[in-house]
Amino acid sequence: MSDLLHRPTLALGQRPKVLEVSRVAKVFNGNVTALRDMSLTVNEGDFISLLGPSGCGKSTALRLIAGLSNPTTGRILWQGGQGRDDLGVVFQEPTLMPWATVAENVWLPFRLRGKTYPQVRGEVEEALSLVGLSGFLNAYPRELSGGMKMRVSIARALVTNPRLILMDEPFAALDEITRHKLNTDLLALKANIGCTVIFVTHSVFESVFLSDRIVVMAARPGRVIEEVQITAPYPRDEAFRTSADYAAHCQVTSRALHAAMGEAA
């Protein structure tokens, strides 16, 4: 593990703020309120899940944070400069360039910043080894399984060692076995490099397993209902999935979600 990909983990109180979403709303075409009055503080090292039914504005929130669209009202404040340049993103589809090899795909964020491959070979190879794909540098995406493609996508998101990684339902299209494996690996990865993650999901179980905070949202109009704290300590492994602690947190989260949906209906 190089120093480059490592951030020291600090206790909660000392963690610097990464970003502050303050009373943000997004209205499309002047009449569709995709998101209303959302506030969220993201601290370094957080793993935050946005959980809610389809159409509650999860992707919209992520796109606003990524700077792909601008809030109608409210503000998104990045602490300590850098901001949007210092971001990694993983979409629901692997979103790889089919004409490029795995290594070239992971090189992309650097390439767009004017770095040649030899300059960043170390980072690219390390990111791929972190996701367990060291042997596939020269493979083309079509030669990989769905789960492996997703790993490449994750490697690409973290190769620049960004302050914040945004993930929009990255594992939704995968089978459950692969999803569980990637969940565990993602947590190990996060512990390893100490990044900050905002994770969008439909799944109560996935969000409880991964997060330290779950933002429960409701639809029509999209809004935040509740923030659920998952107090279970990291590291969490497969054993955690069958623990009573996990079940209890799932129950609380599930109730919050149903309350949110009931309110919307």
Partner: protein
Amino acid sequence: MTMADTPLTRAEAEVDAEEARRARAARTESVAKWVLPALVFVIMVVLWDRLVVWNDIPHYILPGPGLVMQTLVKDWPILFEALLVTLQITLMALAVAVIGGVGLAILFNQSRFAEMSFYPYAVILQVTPVVSIAPLIFIYVDNRTVGLLLCAWIVAFFPILANTTLGLNSTDHNLRDLFRIYGATRWQRLRFLQLPSALPYFLGGLRIAGGLSLIGAIVAEYVAGTGGIGSGLAFRILEAGYRLNIPRMFAALLLIAASGVVIFAGLSFLSHMLLRKWHESAIKRET
């Protein structure tokens, strides 16, 4: 034990039989793909030959296949020279069509206003039959080669323009977002995202344009009409027609058709080589 085993074995045997059948079918198909057209070809040639012989058709009406081949060999110096002229125009027109088509596609893609202003005229140029423009071109353009080239280009550039434009606009929207997040410049987006995405579309257009530039070259030669040294296959056909040299007409026709096939095959091969590593069209699946 036996109760549990038997159905399983039978199922396996069934799958194996099916697999074997599929493998056999695939093998048959790969052979038939070549044998059947060859067989049709042989039958047609024999039929043609018999038709001529049995009906005593004179060679100035319909020459037999043997005579056509003889003429091809006998007139080879004239026909080969003409072939080279036609091929030269065709390939030059194709090259200019690629440059013009891709260039315009990139221009249109980069500037909406350029597209709005000029795309309709590209369409008009395409839908106007080249035979009707060609005489005018040969009035205004003194140089015969340039005139021929222009005609062939008008026919050939549009599929490249249309396909490349479509390809440049068919990038994955998530990849586009990703490029935006990483602060890609316009040039980077074009170079690393749009051009590779457009490649399969461009190659599809290129294959069509290859055939069209041959057609364009031939049509332009018909219209240009002037003979002598440096005239192409189309002129040789016209000339032979005036002299009722029907066998030579057939021989020239044979050469044109063969050129078309070679151009198409060459471009298909090029396309396969460029895409075989990553594109779905170049991948052989089991089923």
